[in-house]
């Protein structure tokens, strides 16, 4: 090759083709997709919680996309919900799809774990709730202080016995409360298919799986150790 102009223009043409295919056409195709009517925008506390989620790189271990292929059937069986669709992410800036399932998918964690106490305690010490969990303990989102020093209005976390020394109390910082509000709000139970589509999809799925669009069964297969306000100890 002798001509640098040809080289650079050729290189830019190939990149333009790729950009057209990967960015421009999806942009045009998706820009008018409306949000599902039942999907609500985030509250300001949830948005703050979303920032905490991003700041701590939760995306490194958690996806937010129950899949439609591969593990999709298992996703549904684990109660992770129907496969997500483009409209589900209408209010997500940016979308937090993630690429790793070192931890479970969180797209519907608010359905599986509605309790704020569970979330707070689990963030403080995951292993007190889920045996064998490798999730980091987020101790820096909490303050451990003497029970006597707790001020009125502070959120004291109810923890399984033995997690903190006697006489000490764990108080959630605002970041922890925001994050939990966000996690509790992650519920996509609304249907995204027309009834006819849902029926057609149900015929394609094997017997046990729920039809697409139906509310996911609140299962705690992945979060053993209590799905309710009063956590069980694991030891």
């Amino acid at each position: 090759m002798e001509n640098e102009i040809k080289l650079v223009s050729g290189a830019m043409v190939t990149l333009s083709l790729a950009t057209a295919a990967m960015i421009v056409v999806p942009f045009l195709q998706l820009k008018d997709v409306p949000p599902p009517p039942a999907l609500k925008p985030y509250t300001s506390q949830e948005l703050r919680g979303r920032q905490v989620y991003m700041a701590n790189g939760c995306i490194a271990c958690h996806t937010q996309q129950p899949s439609s292929t591969g593990a999709g059937i298992a996703d549904a069986a684990r109660g992770w919900g129907r496969p997500s669709v483009a409209g589900d992410y209408h209010y997500d800036q940016p979308p937090l799809l993630g690429t790793m399932r070192t931890g479970p998918d969180l797209f519907n964690i608010g359905v599986r774990q509605p309790s704020a106490d569970w979330h707070l305690g689990h963030l403080f010490q995951p292993r007190a709730y889920v045996a064998g969990s490798t999730m980091p303990a987020y101790g820096f989102l909490f303050e451990v202080k003497d029970e006597a020093a707790v001020v009125k209005g502070e959120r004291v976390v109810v923890l399984p016995p033995g997690t903190v020394p006697a006489g000490k109390a764990v108080v959630a910082k605002p970041e922890a409360l925001d994050l939990v509000a966000y996690l509790q709000g992650l519920k996509r139970e609304y249907p995204v298919l027309t009834p006819a589509q849902a029926e057609a999809a149900a015929r394609l799925l094997p017997g046990e799986a729920k039809p697409a669009g139906a509310a996911p069964a609140p299962s705690n297969a992945d979060d053993r150790g209590g799905s309710d306000a009063a956590p069980e100890t694991n030891s």
Binding site: P26, L30, A60, G70, Q93
Partner: protein, 543 residues
């Protein structure tokens, strides 16, 4: 998108490709060798190895290997050698600044990576500080590699190669140095931001666009000299390394600016953009720059031109055409248009063409010279890197297939695959290039050549452990995730021993990096480049 139109477009494109192929045959583009490949050699140099790390004994060994397959070299005349020396001097200081920065970021990235790896199977390790949490450290690791070690190293080698490839003294040393300072300032700000929780929330794009502006400006200043030099070049022919470097230096800013421009991307479209960028920064920036290094250093060490020059032409244009569209295979099964995923899978498989073109070419070039690996450290790193490119790319093509992806998606296998490319290929090539270039840049030999050998075996052993354990762990994890009868926690438990194995591999690699960085520091101190400012200013003045 209308599937019929897509099929028709694909069909027409294949027909056009077929005619291009026939035309290239008519023009003799596939002939075994053309004179272009000899551009990097001076008259009389073919058949003469260049290996700055070799001891006298290694040099003799190399010469024997080379002499067995070629006419003895006539030798380069003194004028040519002086010109090459002048070329090396002209780029020495900017290349040193970039490579030095790369070595520093390598250590930062390795420390963050190793600690993240330990935390994956030791979750209560260092949990009191927010910045030491896994999500932040892993992000710091990724960004320190993606914006520190790899681009600084590759741009340093490109800066050093350019005067040799274009036979033109380096132009704009000051621009490169200022650009490197701005870029590194951006990196410090970006990584510091991630540590305190400022994160834009997309993989590979965590550094916010306000800081990204510094990369854009710094990168432009580092890249500009190339544009100046292309205009002033004294060679008629542009060698294959120049194509790759030239294209990469235009591709990367386009990618980064499109990805970071605020207020354009939304919802799922932003996710497709994310992987368009995330994959293309590998394919259209790190890969071409690394291939440019392989195409220069490998023939240079064994004193033999690239065998099939036109195969490299095919490799270049097919890479340019196919690689840009493979990113959506990261979202198979995701909430994005199905045609986009299919397109990416097809293009991922098409990537076999440039990869095989490159691999066959390098193999033919090295054929008969494999015993040179015994005598040349540089060749070991470069040849290892080139082989890992083949392996990583073919693995990538397989992984994009829906059936394979069903198992590997969302698992540690993907992480192993990323390291095969970014470490096995890119990093090993940078190591090899640095071992070749730094003695020319600092004008003294490596102080302790035995350390190079130690570095090589530490990282190769560590990398082998890393790859094997993490790949197995990832596949086992994927199989559990696919089985609805097994609870999710089984997929965590099954990976634990393999994650521990990965940490051992990572520790060996980190140790190897410390050996490398120590050696670079030792050489820098002995060369006096840091203690004698007159030398630095002299280098600047010549530019």
């Amino acid at each position: 998108m209308n599937p019929t139109a897509l099929l028709l477009a694909t069909f027409l494109l294949s027909i056009a490709g077929l005619f291009a192929f026939i035309w290239s045959l008519r023009k003799g583009l596939f002939d075994a060798e053309s004179s272009g490949a000899r551009t990097i050699f001076s008259p009389g140099e073919v058949g003469q190895p260049e290996e700055p790390t070799a001891s006298a004994a290694q040099q003799r060994g190399l010469e024997q290997v080379v002499a067995a397959h070629a006419e003895p070299a006539a030798g380069i005349d003194a004028g040519e050698l002086a010109a090459r020396e002048a070329a090396d001097r002209s780029s020495a200081f900017p290349a040193f600044v970039l490579l030095g920065a790369a070595a520093v970021w390598l250590i930062v990235a390795s420390a963050a990576g190793l600690l993240s790896s330990l935390k994956l199977h030791w979750p209560d390790l260092l949990t009191d500080q927010a910045w030491l949490t896994l999500g932040r450290l892993r992000t710091i690791h990724l960004n320190a590699v993606a914006y520190g070690w790899a681009p600084m190293g590759l741009l340093g080698l490109a800066t050093w190669m350019l005067p040799r490839l274009l036979k033109t003294p380096f132009v704009g040393s000051r621009l490169v140095i200022v650009g490197a300072v701005i870029w590194n300032a951006g990196l410090v700000a970006g990584l510091g931001g991630i540590a305190i929780g400022i994160n834009a929330g997309m993989e590979w794009l965590e550094i916010p666009w306000q800081v990204g502006l510094l990369f854009a400006i710094g990168g432009m200043l580092i890249g500009l000299p190339m544009a100046f030099m292309l205009q002033r070049r004294k060679v008629h022919h542009l060698y294959v390394s120049v194509w790759y470097m030239g294209a990469a230096l235009f591709w990367f800013p386009t990618l980064y600016i499109v990805a970071k421009i605020p207020g354009v991307h939304f919802g799922v479209e932003q996710a497709t953009m994310n992987w368009w960028f995330g994959h293309n920064v590998l394919g259209l920036f790190f890969t071409p720059l690394s291939l440019a290094c392989v195409y220069y250093f490998l023939p240079k060490v064994i004193g033999r031109p690239v065998r099939s020059y036109n195969l490299s032409l095919l490799g270049f244009w097919t890479l340019a055409f196919f690689y840009g569209q493979v990113g959506a295979h990261h979202l198979i099964g995701g909430p994005i248009p199905e045609w986009l995923i299919t397109l990416s899978i097809v293009q991922s498989v098409m990537m076999i063409i440039p990869v095989v073109a490159f691999s066959v070419n390098q193999h033919l070039t090295l054929k008969g010279h494999f015993s040179a690996l015994k005598h040349s450290y540089v060749l070991r790193f470069i040849a290892f890197g080139a082989m890992m490119y083949t392996l990583a790319s073919l693995q990538g093509s397989m992984e994009a297939l829906r059936s394979v992806n069903a198992v590997t998606h969302f698992t540690h296998f993907t992480v192993a695959h990323a390291h095969l490319g970014m470490y096995g290929f890119v990093s090993m090539v940078i190591f090899g290039g640095a071992y070749f270039a730094l003695p020319r840049i600092l004008d003294i030999p490596w102080p302790k050549p035995a350390l190079i050998n130690l570095h090589f075996w530490l990282v190769v052993a560590g990398f082998a452990v890393y790859m094997v354990t993490l790949s197995i762990g990832g596949i086992l994890q994927g199989l559990v995730l696919l089985d609805p009868a097994r609870p999710f926690m089984d997929s965590v438990a099954v990976t634990l021993p393999w994650l521990q194995g990965r940490s051992i591999g990572g520790a060996l690699m980190t140790l190897g990096h410390c050996v490398f960085a120590w050696h670079v520091l030792l050489m820098t101190v002995r060369s006096g480049v840091l203690t004698r400012p007159d030398r630095a200013t002299a280098a600047l003045a010549r530019a």
